[in-house]
Amino acid sequence: MKSVLIRGGRVVDAGGGRVADVVVEDGRIAAVAADGSDLAGDVVLDAGGCVVAPGLVDLHTHLRQPGREEAETVDTGGRAAALGGFTCVLAMPNTDPPVDSAGVAREVLELGRDACCDVRTAAAITVGRQGAQLTPMAELAALGVRFFTDDGTGVQDGRLMRRALEYGRGLGVTLAQHCEDDVLAAGGAMHEGAWSSRLGIPGQPAEAEELMVMRDIALARLTGGRVHFQHLSTRRSVELVASAKAQGLPVTCEATPHHFTLTDERCSSYDPVFRVNPPLRTDDDVAAVRGALARGDIDCIATDHAPHAPEAKEQPFDQAAPGMLGLETALALALTHLDLPIADVLALLSWRPAALLGVGDRHGGPIEAGRPANLCVVDPAATWTVDPLALASRSRNTPYAGMTLTGRVRHTVLAGEPVVVDGEAQR
């Protein structure tokens, strides 16, 4: 394997920032030395004006394989991830068939071996994501599954969720919940409020999310099992989880870029690209999510990258598939719209999610000799305009088309290999 010299950048990791060159060899960081050193490499990646950081980790990626290969594959999604600076993604299990057995989990992990990104998979909590019977959680955990979720829906049955948490506690795994009370949310295609009322689009109230957050906080207290709240979108959800954490309960949470950048007003275009679950909320909710990210009440940013083929989106708003792309825009949105130092943004996108997923030994770790070389090089000043046709994802459903963002991934190094160089995927 060729050695790689990343030259002239500012290294930023959990330990702080300093100007240094980094040499990568045989999949690991071989040396880190102050600028002007005489380090060399077979390949030189220019990092002038850039930040050299641990690769990003996404706890919430829909790779759609198996079953929805017209929307995304592990290969195309992995490439999109690498271009977005991610070196590790957690694939969601709502595939077809779902990841509810060791066989499907193995298939996804196998497909991931050739990807531009370290692909991990979550598994479903219940068989077929039907909310009735637990999956073979121990067998799946033995394959390395650390997160279980029925994402796309929440586990509605409180007793079943309790059992899953109790059983999961014994395995040391985390149960990730898509919080949505199906009955209260039924038929709702956007946030229920002034805009839904005016647009005549059936809404779902914020309380449909908050009720399940409240229930699962109670169940975390009851069982001691670890709950990770996915894509929190309302002020009260965020406050509930912050207060549960303050009480020492084993809960964590994530927020998506779209929930800190977009509001329900976008739905007034009736463009289904803005249909997503949980739905885009109000200005006040967006402000609450931003505040909680800044305070650390929200542990990490996760993309909820949800590719859909055009025919699934070119439908009436309330019949279109919910979800939007996220991998290639997440870092730039955070840098552009969160008023945070880059080290804080990287914490939310790299080392904190890496720790939650239990991959801190490979991703998000300090940039020092001997560590695995999973890195991204970001030009924080570069501006670019989102062009759906230029994305590596197989789908085009980005809500940011035409938007100008600041901050762009220049290079990504996966296990010592440059998989993105100057913004171009290398395989």
Binding site: A194, S196, R198, G200, P202, P316, F317
Partner: protein, 305 residues
Amino acid sequence: MKHLLGIEGLEGDDIEHLLELTDTFVEVSRRRMPKVPALQGRTVTWLFYEDSTRTRLSFEQAAKRLSADTLSFSVSASSVNKGESLRDTVETIEAMGVDAIVVRHRSAGVPHQITRWVSGSVINAGDGWHEHPTQALLDCYTIREHLGGVDGLRIAVVGDVKHSRVARSDAWAFTKLGAEVTLVAPPTLLPPSLDGWPVAVSDDLDAVLPEVDVVYLLRMQRERMTEALVPSLREYTARYGLTRSRVDLLGDKAIVMHPGPMNRGVEIAADVADLPRAVVTDQVRNGVAVRMAVLFELLGSGGER
């Protein structure tokens, strides 16, 4: 005006203009031979994803009286399930060469979406709970015909506002023309938020009736029972039905309106529906002239005038 998607986006002057144009077509409709060549050579097509008798017939009559060619595209629910996207369907129709698409769909916003994919005009004939602009125009026209104008009137819109495109379009149209609108309904049948709506709200029909010039009753759909929005039709009628005794609370000149089809005995008592002050058939009759005005406004300017 290229499209007619809703009333919310119109100015009061636009509405007045369409009502004045309607006068012309009311006159045409009264002729022995009620047909003009205004839209000769133009093609209008219907894209109705939801059952409709009166709106569709009314548009068809309007187009024929303007000498437009009409194309009918029947959409069964199954063709959507065969995997064809909305866009595919619309582009198929567009490829056949049409000047206007009149669309009704049970999902809000479909007419707006269609405008992105076609070069011709799009007319909203009802989209989900959102808007039904030609209904609002014919309602305004009918009020003007009976009461001389809309400005300064007090109008009660009674019933299932939440699920009603008629209520949304009427609320915009009546207020843009200077009327005061009060929505009368139990909270379960109001939109979750009325922020930004220029209306008052009441749940006491008896208190509102003596104050109004127009009482506009909305259709109460039976399926609302299963959604626990009201306990029973009987209780709904007791609180919000326009019974014979409630009519006596109205002023002498006040009129009663309904977009049809009426549930006699539910939102309106049978004997009330047949009173002279109930102007429901006038609404239907004016619907044709109003739709002629809309078609002419959107398609006529490029043709022979």
